[in-house]
Symmetry: none
Subunit: 197 residues, 4 copies
């Protein structure tokens, strides 16, 4: 970034200019933070990044693609807690996820990605692939609980995670991310012990 802001970005030959790529992603993220999905247009991103629209379309075929790329460029939270106990792992998992979504831009961006996925089929596919991958990663802590003998053998770790994630998605999508430790605790207890407690 030798001349950032001072001079125009130029072509660096018949190859992608990483400076432009970064500028576009940063601009897209900033717009998403400030104005939300409503203000997110290729036009606006190009304007803010001082990039030409064709430059964006050259590398991202659609709004959804750019959105997903922005999301993937976010710092990711650690989603595999390891507190030694299933119940506290569950609490840690949800607390971390809620915090990640609440504190930074990740929540707003992820909401946008989900919304876009309801319109754009390619975004749906990409989102599905992404979440399935995430689920199987996060399921690790449930598997560990099973290995410890803390969880029953017949439970599906992925299904358990999906339950937690679904709960979190619902809170995210209805703007109810406020942290309520008691509630999370109760939820963790319900899940680990079951309704029949």
């Amino acid at each position: 970034m030798t001349n950032a802001g001072t001079s125009r970005r130029r072509s660096i030959g018949a190859q992608r200019n990483p400076e432009s790529q970064q500028a576009i992603l940063k601009a897209a993220e900033a717009i998403l933070m400030e104005d939300g999905l409503a203000g997110f247009s290729i036009e606006a991103v190009a304007r803010r990044a001082h990039a030409g629209k064709p430059t964006i379309y050259r590398w991202w075929p659609s709004r959804a693609a750019l959105l997903l790329d922005v999301y993937h460029h976010q710092k990711h939270v650690e989603r595999v807690p390891d507190t030694g106990s299933l119940e506290t792992d569950i609490i840690a998992f949800l607390t971390a996820l809620f915090g990640y979504w609440r504190d930074g831009n990740a929540g707003a961006i992820f909401r946008s990605v989900i919304a876009e996925a309801q319109t754009d089929v390619k975004a749906t596919d990409a989102l599905r692939a992404y979440v399935l991958d995430r689920f199987s990663q996060s399921a690790e802590f449930v598997r560990r609980a099973q290995a410890r003998g803390e969880a029953a053998d017949w439970v599906s770790p992925e299904l358990a995670i999906e339950l937690l994630a679904g709960f979190a998605w619902n809170r995210l999508l209805t703007s109810r991310l406020d942290d309520n430790p008691e509630e999370l605790q109760r939820l963790a207890r319900q899940i680990s012990l079951g309704l029949k407690g």
Copy 2:
């Protein structure tokens, strides 16, 4: 609907014309079914309903409002199963919900409502209010289980429903509504007995 399609709808004086209202809702629903949220625009609805755009804006302040109204005009599924057993109630609840979303237009419409709620704050509020109401209604069958002594006193019926609903939302929003009875059964067992089984 005396002359639907044959002659132009006109004003019926200083009051809302229910024919127009119906025509607009039907057109909106049809567009949502056929083209999804992507093709859903006030312009398109007006065109299809042979209505003027101001007529729509007069009665529905925004795209989100119309969308929600369309969703509310759908036939609703019975969400309070009563099979006599908690576990089968859970299965019945999810099976009914999945079927409702999968078989008719309700799923596509609800996806659109959720997507819209990520852009439009009023839609978010409306959606939140709607789901909280639904949750407390559906929680009835968990309360009944508690009354029967089948569920522990300390569980929160609303939280339990939220878990199930969140799971269902996730499946809906990632286009994974295919019914898998075994999976649902396992899920019901996990929830009722808990991971510690």
Copy 3:
């Protein structure tokens, strides 16, 4: 023009707004004067007229159509001189035409129309129709000369005018409109007496 410049132009119902039409034509003319054909774009006209592009496309199907309309809205010169003598009529005709093109915007606009007609077939057709009409009008003074017995019966008035107009076009299109009275006089003499004089 009750509120020109002070407030936005609005729709006046389901009909063409003449204020918009005038604003667009004025803007188009101004751009043509200031920047020539090179700066003449629908985008620029819309910007300057504070009009939407669709408003322009609604009423003028193409750049060429707008250009021709601008030309037609120019004040027209009297092209049928009547000095009583063929030779001085010819001089008057050319002098008036040169002056018309040289002094106002008409020349620049007409050059643009001709240029556009080399690209756009509809503009070619419109231009041809226009010039044929003009030629037959202007031919009147030659016909009068024939009536007076000053011109031979076998001459074609239209062909004579075409000769004069072609000469003028050539001068216009190569930026040689500077008035040279002697030259025009000689030309008039050549045409009226013939090369064999």
Copy 4:
């Protein structure tokens, strides 16, 4: 042209590659023939010629320059008839010019040059210089008529040619090049004998 079409053209060192030059001119001409001025863009020429855009810009500073070069590379018609009689010389001159423009690509290309000259000042200058030169060359046959005593001494040969050329331009620019021998004959008679015939 040892390997035209089979292998890529490369640099031949620090000097202009005549193969590239030829390929560009041929491509430009072909585009002008097939799509007219509307399809004529540097981009299209480069694509068709398998040339880099900078190669074109290196040698032709503007679209107009390339256009003029294409025109100059056309075979030129003989414009100095010598039938022994002024009247038939005029007919021969116009017949040859019309045929030249009508039969090959020269007409379309010259129309493009004229159009371009209405936008680009350098093209205007080049065109003016070109036509003045042409006029003085073509004026030769009128001078010969004067020498034979067939034309009056006071007539200006250049002005006479300009009259004929202007007539031809007008026909070219309004797509009216269809040959009409009778009309040309009448025109020749009018010019040689004068309107007062």
